[in-house]
């Protein structure tokens, strides 16, 4: 209804307002080079660039949705579960035990025992120079890490009355062996005890399986143990 042909008032010739003015939108475009794309009456063809761009985007979209869509299954959470990369495994990088131990210590133990291994006086016992850490064999320490220990516990002449967090379910044998090795051999803290192997941890984990339900170890229970565990 607003087309110039159907509405007399909008046609330049008939409109009294436009008398004496140049007619037509195109005149403006001719005068001002900045406005060379002034929309005109006719429909310009869609730019080929735009068509190619849109086509590329849509093909990419289809590919990506298919490739990482997990088959649109509700229980598929891994975007690599289907499609081309199904075979791609995400094997965790292998770390040397010291680096792994450092990482585990920083992310778990340091919250209480502090990054410097000195603990918090009156709260959390130190690991640096601790007689529990530097014992000849790791039997007690492995047990403590697996199922925790319940205070009061004497460490370096002070007594700490607190409860530790057990790590049986949250750290694997390799991680526990690595972190115990890291703590026992940490020279910056003056610790120079022997390293621990994952096999030793596995053996004690199996042996104390039933123990975990009974809660943390008590100091008396741990002290009753021999220093050296018989070899598995």
């Amino acid at each position: 209804m607003n087309s110039p042909t159907s509405t007399p008032s909008s046609s330049p010739g008939n409109d009294p307002r436009s008398r004496g003015r140049p007619a037509g939108v195109k005149d403006l475009a001719a005068r001002d080079p900045l406005e060379h794309v002034e929309p005109g009456e006719s429909q310009r063809p869609i730019s080929l660039m735009l068509v190619i761009f849109l086509a590329t985007l849509f093909s990419w979209a289809g590919y990506y949705a298919h490739r990482y869509g997990g088959g649109y299954e509700p229980l598929i959470y891994n975007e690599n579960a289907y499609g081309l990369a199904a075979a791609k495994t995400n094997a965790a990088e292998k770390l040397d035990p010291y680096a792994l131990g450092q990482r585990v210590f920083g992310n778990t133990c340091a919250r209480c025992h502090q990054p410097d291994g000195l603990g918090l006086p009156g709260q959390y016992p130190p690991l640096a120079g601790s007689e529990w850490v530097l014992a000849p064999g790791p039997a007690r320490m492995i047990r403590i890490v697996l199922d925790a220990v319940q205070g009061p516990i004497p460490v370096k002449g002070a007594t700490f009355d607190n409860v530790m967090t057990p790590w049986r379910d949250t750290l694997n044998d390799e991680q526990i062996a690595a972190v115990i090795t890291f703590v026992r051999t940490q020279k910056e803290w003056g610790n120079t005890a022997s390293p621990v192997t994952p096999e030793e941890v596995a053996a004690i984990r199996a042996k104390t399986k039933a123990r975990s339900a009974a809660g943390p170890w008590t100091v008396a229970e741990l002290q009753a143990l021999p220093d050296q565990e018989p070899n598995p």
């Binding site: 607003n2 307002r17 140049p22 939108v25 005068r31 001002d32």
Partner: protein, 82 residues
């Protein structure tokens, strides 16, 4: 979760229904004719072309030499007589 089904019906039946009606009405109003000319619909006939209509208070407007605007191809409604 009956509420969810109400929303579901709303989204799939009621709203598209409204959309269709609105669309039919818009077509009849001639909404989709002469799309490109609409770019000019925000200007009045007497607005200067290429000259800014805004400036800092007390300041000077942009001094771009500008030709007068050609007549706007869009018909303007008139103020109803008081």
């Amino acid at each position: 979760m009956s509420v969810l089904w109400i929303l579901f019906v709303c989204s799939l039946v009621v709203l598209p229904g409204i959309a269709l009606l609105a669309f039919r009405w818009a077509m009849r109003q001639g909404e989709f004719r002469h799309l490109e000319k609409t770019a000019l619909s925000i200007f009045d006939d007497d607005e200067p072309v290429g000259q800014t209509t805004d400036c800092f208070p007390g300041g000077q407007r942009g001094k771009k030499p500008a030709p007068t605007r050609p007549p706007n191809p869009i018909s303007r409604p008139r103020l109803p007589e008081a």
